[in-house]
Subunit: 405 residues, 4 copies
């Protein structure tokens, strides 16, 4: 039997305790260890040098908050069996296991049509097979088929421990103190009412603060213009490589696993057959490859690669209003003159689009506040509510990038 | 002219301000940006998942403390010219520029005979040439040839801003709160006496705490047994690869730059001619390569590589006394039986040695305390001194590793 | 000459440096030292046991932020003379010197018609006389007569260092993490445009967060129902004592100074003649007196006093809507039956009113955001502004208290 | 039934949860609420303005750590019944209930011969009577008569939660970061072996750090020279008042309760009969009284009182060596000449003595380290032990004070 108890130092929460052999087994599995080498925030560290924490660290953090939340609910009399407790902990531990290198940034570029959550589910199912069905409850909770809805809501909802951890952790590591949330207060105020997760009245201001922190993190960090530009550049490096390959050029990635994915074609790839390969890729594969391409004869590939490695990030405009057409044309003409490229190829060096909250969804699920008289009201309907249509609107900005020369 | 002022968020100090065009130029140079991809603490993150901060981050932090220290000394009347101020800032910014991938862990494995400080100096000299001699003062301070000794002492001595930052930053990111030091108090108490850096009497307990924190970080973190084992394994991967190459096997690194270094031979390599290649390597090159080698036909290479990537770190004993000979023999026999390997090759899977404070030197330089009556005493001679021969003894432990099967 | 430099440990900011003899003289003056014994947050510690920090501590904190702000503005090229710098520091150091015991809670009860700011001014003028006019500039800045308007705005405006410190400090000591503000970011973004204090565009989210923190602190802390009830009770203790005195009863305070104020009568008291006595009073005088009154033969006085000392705070309803008339009547009848008191006297044990932000004004002054193109926009007019009419509305709640029996 | 669950915000630990009706009853008792008005660190706030936290706050903090420690031990399989758990929590909650105003500073001055712990016990016994024996287990644990020794050791030993809280809390509020301890790590490493409290091997460095923090806090904070001088002055104010009273002078305290104690005489006072009066006194009684005495006709009384109130603390020398006799004589002569006082009375203005760790005992109890092989070793006997005779020696300094003129 493996050591049954492990304490992990965490700068955010102090200590994280793993106290079940199955949890230890999952954590030490290569599929999970891989997350160690995927930055939680992709290229955000180009602007916030501290933001180099990993997906593994985030999963452990979310797991820690899950432990706290379950303990709190149990102490308030909510019935949670040991099997359900373990299931919820496994579900959160593995919720991000399906992320590929650079997480959201490359999500649709490496494997078209496969959302990371569906890959997380595949991984859980594979582990479930390996472990003789010990993940059944976890899978049921993860896919929201488990009868006690609040367990899934802890994993995924407006107030889940995933968001609580990433907002808090991302704030911590970026040093953007404005994003820090009162996770302990919110967790202390969680309750279950009619099978659903709710928060007690006292937590109203903490919830408002939580929603505002999310807003701040989006605008100031997740959609920071340099970060957006860098991610768009990386997408174009991969796209260019695939284009060259499709034209019959011999082009290789630095690692065998990444090379396989680079040479895949087709719109919707059956990841299932490639799961093992997928689970060998992490940020290292991409970065080592981009480094090699710095000297590639294809100018577009090498210029973009070098710009990423040397942090010569493209110029970018990021604003609430659509980009002025005249400005776009002027910049296109400039870059075309400089590079001699024409439409098509030129679009690698001058391009625009909409930056939305692709990273994390701000959807319409509600947060229910439980009043002392046992009634429920949505957070947007409480007295003097701060949260109104304004801040719940989807976050969208227009960006326009052009080569730095 | 580049933007003349930049503020960087830092979770440790809040904000770091860069306010001179030359500093901004250095920071945006590819030689400096490379440090972004070298972990400050090599494999420590295998045990402390938060410890993924970079050498770039540490250099910026040390630079920040240098700014604070210089401002403090100036406010106390120490004469420091603008040129000296800039020089000291540049020197600390670049003091670690010569670190290769995995810093200390691979220092003697990749380029025999070249200490990272001598490479830092080469880099400064090259940048000095590129920038028309603007780094003259910085180089003079870095090499301790500048007349005002305290400037060099701020860069490198028992109480330099380098140590203050790394102890503090490493404590912060590992979550080992015991290592946090009162850097602000120490800096507020710095003074210059007869040209040398001293600390005022009031700081005695902070200094003692600083020395103790260093001790704690060594034993608990830098020489953590899992970290030691992982680093020894990585050294053996590189060593095995070089051995195979020297035997004529075709073996390649994942990236062009690392491949060049892998194929170098000779005891003392003239890095000078390879500086540009050296400055293209970072942790990504190593990790991508080790990932590729997981499937290499050479068993020794692939077993070690897979063990690193999947975090199946070798068993290790790490203790104050030499390892019992009988125990060593027993383990050797066990592993020999299991692997069928003989001496020589067996030493890749069973080995021992002494772990000393190779990471950072605990040398004999003194820390001078300045009393109110203007006399000086060494920290070890103050009333009720805590610091005595005991904790200033070199840190040494014996380790012994064997394959996890 | 007094020691010219003093470093004070502060849990909120680390260290506060006092580096001018005049500042040290002011700080060691009994008028200033008195603030040591006045709680910054009156009775908030009944709910938040950590909230026992003093007015002296807050003044020192605001002074520290002033030092940071002035240094920042100077580094950006704003012209500030040494005399102006000292003046601004003195002004903020003394801005709250006119607070009496329990600050806002008793402000209109002890000395009718005298706002604490007018008393702060009297104190500054008196010190100016004592110190041969060395506070001239400070007084001019404090009273907004100094030509460089931004200096007064640093002392008193929507974004002054007073608010920045109290929000931050109150959050820190209460443990209400949601109230913590990014003071360092805001200060780094301060600038002067056309003689007025503005903030750079980058600080928008920090400013929004600052305004939200204020909102949270009002609702969750400053207007916490138990705190409101306790303060209303203390007001009634003083009021009852004065009433008894006016009826000719012999009733004394525990201290000579407080006794004098208790026996004053008239609507608008000329504090000027009593300044020295006023400056001898602090929270101790009130609390010792209330303790003595626990055994006073007058039931109303002793019941209220005991309730305060033993923390048997009255029942309270605090809500956004006016209190239901039927409920008020019912409770009045209940308490009347229990105590045998009739209207008039009964109003000591059953009473209601409106709790507004009397503590700190949320007025209409604007916060100007400076864009990169040098234009100014109000914080409420920026893209995707969070701050709209909703959260800038005056904070008002209806309260209703009745005796706990 | 009173509300069965209460959450208290604490800046040090985040939240403290009280979840048993009996605990809530004890906390709301006037005997406990009184601790709200006793500074944990007496006059330390004269030097560290943040150090104004109360005994009540410390007790709540120690209670919180007790909850954590008990949960940890239970999760490791230690048998602890609900009754024992409640007993241990009650014992720690009330461990300091017997402290009088200004805690240790006045301990032997107000009531000769009665240590605060014996008064805490009296209070527990009285509450036990009031509450029909519900505190039996708590009393048995507090007085170390309970068979499971580790429960008492959690309340009082080298590693008790009392020390852990006060070191941590005092560090936090003073802002002396060097004193912060890794309480969470230590608590996670607690275990019970043969009925005694021990710590696991992994905690060695945290324990060393804990002991060093204590050392730092003693020298830098608890025995800070200004703090020592202020406390000695307050002792002399009380002593002078008693002397005047014993000479037949009419002299009164500001409050009735304090007045009673001032007029007591005899060496060993039977506090038992005065317990209720004792439990009405707090710092307010003393401070209001000292304020009144600022204008007393007795010069010695008024000079000392004013010096305290206005923070004109006496000059003091505090050093490791005995004070030089010649220096003492010279100062005595100086002050005698200035004041016209003779021996006896002069000793109010010029005096010396030894400052030892009267506040908290550094006794010889050991800390046992539990090794993986289940053997125990004392912390002073581990490999490379830092803790040796040197830092476990009693802390003693010589002080000498003389009037500031």
């Amino acid at each position: 039997m493996p050591q049954a108890r492990k304490i992990i130092n965490d700068p955010v929460y102090g200590f994280i305790t793993i106290d079940h052999p199955l949890l230890l087994q999952i954590i030490s599995h290569p599929y999970y260890q891989r997350l160690r080498n995927i930055h939680q925030m992709a290229f955000a560290h180009l602007v916030y040098p501290g933001a180099v924490h990993s997906r593994l660290h985030h999963s452990l953090g979310a797991y820690h908050l899950m432990c706290m939340a379950l303990a709190e609910l149990k102490s308030k009399g909510t019935d949670i069996t040991p099997d359900e407790e373990l299931g919820a902990k496994l579900a959160i531990l593995l919720h991000d296991a399906g992320h590929g290198p650079f997480s959201h940034a490359l999500e649709q570029e490496l494997i078209k049509g496969a959302h990371h959550e569906s890959i997380s589910l595949m991984i859980m199912q594979k582990l479930n097979d390996e472990l003789d069905g010990q993940l059944e409850t976890a899978i049921s909770i993860f896919t929201d088929q488990y009868p006690k809805k609040f367990l899934h809501q802890l994993v995924s909802s407006q107030l889940d421990v995933d968001r609580m951890d990433y907002l808090n952790r991302d704030s911590f590591f970026t040093g953007v103190a404005e994003g820090v949330i009162g996770y302990d207060r919110i967790i202390k105020m969680l309750a279950v009412k009619d099978g659903n997760l709710v928060v007690e009245e006292k937590a109203i201001y903490s919830i408002e603060k939580f929603l505002l922190s999310r807003r701040i993190m989006y605008w100031q960090v997740y959609l920071h213009k340099t970060v957006v530009a860098a991610e768009k550049m990386l997408i174009r490096v991969i796209r260019r490589a695939k284009e060259l390959i499709s034209k019959g050029e011999k082009l290789h990635a630095a690692t065998a696993s990444f090379d396989k994915f680079l040479h895949l074609s087709g719109d919707k790839i059956a990841v299932a057959g490639l799961l093992d390969d997928f689970c060998r890729m992490d940020d290292h594969d991409i970065m080592a490859t981009v480094k090699n391409w710095c000297d590639h004869p294809d100018k577009i590939l090498s210029v973009l690669s070098r710009a990423i490695i040397q942090r010569k990030i493209m110029h970018i405009r990021l604003q609430a209003q659509p980009i002025d057409e005249a400005f776009r044309k002027e910049k296109s003409k400039e870059i075309a003159a400089l590079t001699g490229l024409e439409t098509g190829d030129l679009s690698y060096f001058v391009f625009g689009g909409e930056a939305t909250n692709r990273l994390y969804n701000l959807d319409n699920e509600s947060i229910s506040i439980l009043y002392k008289d046992e009634t429920l009201r949505d957070i947007s309907e409480v007295d003097n509510a701060l949260i109104n249509i304004k801040i719940s609107e989807p976050v969208k900005k227009y960006y326009f990038c052009w080569l730095r020369v």
